[in-house]
């Protein structure tokens, strides 16, 4: 594939709002996870909750889209000059030539959860003020982002569980390569809700302690919330991030709905595709940002996949002990982290992990490492057996 330059990127998670806060959290090795205090749920485990969502107001003209997920998206759009960079792209290409391709697993379902608690006791009807199409509906996110940025290109919401926002880069790439648009806003948002907290608890996948990806004694995930966006386009723009998407790959396991194929074949396939599409060998990758959720099954599978593709020497780690597993938003959050790693020569070591699983053969970093980072492979996998790998690299090598 031809590289796509990241003109701008912005992300918000429990680590903080925007690049400086996220970088500081990574450098200071400060986890944002705290005991679950969401919606008065009596659930064990920790969460990565973004402070201040409850007080955030959407722009007046878009108040109809108000829900936790779109508030989180709006916070991200206001970080790091993202909306301004999109306004410039709109002027460069025309509003109709900039697509919005965003991913979410549950969109604004929290609004439906709240509405179901306010049903009319006599008729069962949902409250009058409940707006399904602009909250719970998956398309709500793409519509909101497109309207907030004043764009008029095609808009898509994609939803493939925890690979959603990672996949958005690949979906937008096809639109750009086929000539449908010249640039795209990609990324997505997933926010805390009862559905995912209870759902993962029912699967026994919630860690009682803050998650510890890759640790010998890891015992599950901590759920977080995040939103993030990237503006991608064919030509490099002055003042851009200096980072490009060099390759991307996606596969399906065809194995089980909620358990990964333990051999890691599908995950390895996605990473190989990403390398092939970039025309690069495994040696060209300096760091692998793992999906690394902290479940026994995911981390073991991913170790096997990484070793199959990269061998045992390429440094890898998961950043989910900082942010929690932000589900469909993890891909864009970790893309923003990959940009920071490349720009600042940083490889974050797994936070909270005392010792890597002795069965693992990949090179798991436990401490932060300072070294030049030219290229990062970023993994995201999801229920339904969806695997997605993105390869980011310094823009100067892609010119």
């Amino acid at each position: 594939m031809r590289p796509l330059f990241l003109t701008a990127v912005a992300a918000v998670s429990a680590m903080g709002r925007g690049r400086d806060a996220t970088l500081a959290a990574l450098c200071n090795r400060r986890s944002a996870l705290a005991p679950c205090d969401f919606a008065a749920l009596r659930l064990p485990g920790h969460i990565g909750r973004v402070a201040g969502i409850e007080d955030h107001a959407l722009p007046p003209g878009l108040a109809g889209f108000d829900c936790r997920n779109n508030r989180l998206a709006d916070i991200a759009l206001r970080c790091d000059g993202f909306a301004e960079a999109v306004a410039d792209a709109r002027a460069r290409h025309g509003a109709g030539r900039v697509a919005v391709v965003v991913g979410t697993s549950t969109s604004g379902i929290l609004s439906s959860e709240d509405a179901y608690r306010r049903r009319d006791p006599a008729t069962g009807a949902l409250p009058e003020d409940f707006d399904y199409a602009r909250t719970h509906d998956l398309f709500s996110l793409a519509r909101f982002v497109r309207a907030a940025l004043g764009l008029r290109g095609p808009a898509l919401t994609l939803s493939c569980a925890c690979a959603s926002s990672a996949r958005s880069f690949i979906d937008a790439r096809a639109l750009i390569e086929s000539g449908v648009c010249d640039a795209a806003v990609v990324g997505g948002a997933d926010s805390l809700c009862r559905m995912t907290l209870h759902g993962f608890a029912s699967l026994g996948l919630i860690s009682p302690d803050p998650c510890r990806p890759c640790d010998a004694a890891r015992s599950g995930i901590s759920i977080g919330e995040a939103a993030g966006f990237a503006l991608i386009e064919r030509a490099e723009v002055a003042g851009g991030t200096g980072v490009a998407l060099l390759g991307g790959g996606a596969t399906s396991d065809g194995y089980h709905m909620s358990a990964p194929d333990p051999t890691g074949t599908g995950a390895a396939g996605a990473m190989r595709q990403a390398l092939e599409s970039a025309g690069l060998e495994a040696e060209a990758v300096d760091y692998v940002n793992l999906h690394g959720t902290g479940t026994r099954a995911n981390d073991a599978m991913e170790d096997a996949a990484v070793v199959a593709v990269f061998g045992t020497e390429t440094p890898c780690s998961s950043t989910k002990a900082w942010s929690g597993h932000t589900l469909g938003a993890s891909g864009i959050l970790e893309a923003a982290i990959a940009v920071l790693c490349i720009r600042h020569g940083l490889m974050p070591g797994c936070l909270g992990a005392a010792e890597p699983d002795p069965a693992f053969r990949s090179r798991i970093l436990l401490d932060n490492m300072a070294a030049p980072v030219r290229r990062v492979m970023s993994n995201a996998f999801g229920f339904g057996g969806i695997n997605c790998s993105l390869l980011f690299g310094r823009a100067e090598a892609a010119r």
Partner: protein
């Protein structure tokens, strides 16, 4: 401009029992007898997984299998685009009811089946298709968005793509915010070149300033289905492929349009 060729089709809806049986209906040569489609458990899944599938997954898998079979393209050779505005509304409703209780009980199977890409997941489990699956939910514009995305995939990658659209009625009370009385699924296999079984050629383009009125089915009997079921947004294209004359259709996507030039 994207150009693709339709190598196969699958269809299930009220009075539309498979693509082949529906051609005389879509061309107006047979009346539409609007009986709900039969949705047998998918034969391509193992018995334990078959039992867990709701009607939405059955709908999707049935039309996907019909289209792949007609095209003669093995599922493993295709990237897929699965698209549905509402996914499994019955399942989401059951979970939402639980979550409104003081002690919610969400089962693991319910939860993993609630992901929007469940149908794509079962398709890959059942057929061994391990290429990428693209899963979209774009409200009332789902058919237009998915057709554009599938066409872009063919244009960018060259390999054949399975496009599978499906939507089913939501139960009360969600049916009041998303009224739709019909189950409907449609699938197309899109290829970059014409083959011996090609049904027609599609040229796709994005137009941000709409010039044409949104297309609707020619058959009046299909209008309620088209108006209510987001997946049925593809009906004008299907009607033309079934035996119409070449035409230009406009499928609305927010304030723009996906323009579809159909040459059967």
């Amino acid at each position: 401009m994207i150009e693709v060729f339709v190598a196969g089709a699958g269809l299930l809806g009220p009075g539309l029992a498979g693509w082949k049986a529906s051609v005389p209906v879509l061309t107006g040569n047979q009346p539409l007898l609007a009986e709900p489609p039969a949705l047998p458990p998918p034969a391509l899944l193992a018995p334990n997984e078959r039992r867990r599938t709701g009607i939405v997954v059955r709908l999707a898998l049935a039309v996907a299998a019909e289209a792949a079979d007609m095209a003669g393209v093995p599922p493993a050779a295709m990237t897929s685009v699965f698209a549905s505005a509402d996914g499994d509304g019955a399942l989401i409703h059951a979970i939402l009811e639980q979550l409104a209780r003081p002690e919610p009980q969400v089962s693991p199977t319910q939860f993993h089946n609630s992901v929007h890409n469940a149908a794509a997941g079962y398709w890959s489990i059942g057929t061994g298709a391990n290429r990428a699956a693209i899963c979209l939910g774009c409200g009332g514009a789902t058919a237009a968005a998915a057709l554009l995305r599938a066409g872009a995939e063919v244009a960018a990658e060259g390999a054949p793509v399975l496009l599978c659209l499906y939507d089913a009625p939501m139960p009360e009370p969600l049916s009041r915010v998303r009224p739709n009385r019909f189950s409907f699924g449609a699938a197309l296999v899109l290829a970059s070149r014409p083959g011996p079984r090609t049904l027609g050629r599609l040229r796709l383009d994005w137009r941000c300033d709409p010039t044409d009125a949104p297309s609707v089915p020619r058959l009046p009997a299909l209008l309620p289905l088209h108006a209510e079921n987001p997946a049925a947004g593809l009906l004008p294209v299907l009607e033309t492929l079934a035996g119409g004359t070449a035409c230009v259709l406009a499928l609305p996507l927010l304030d723009g349009q996906v323009v579809v030039e159909v040459a059967p």
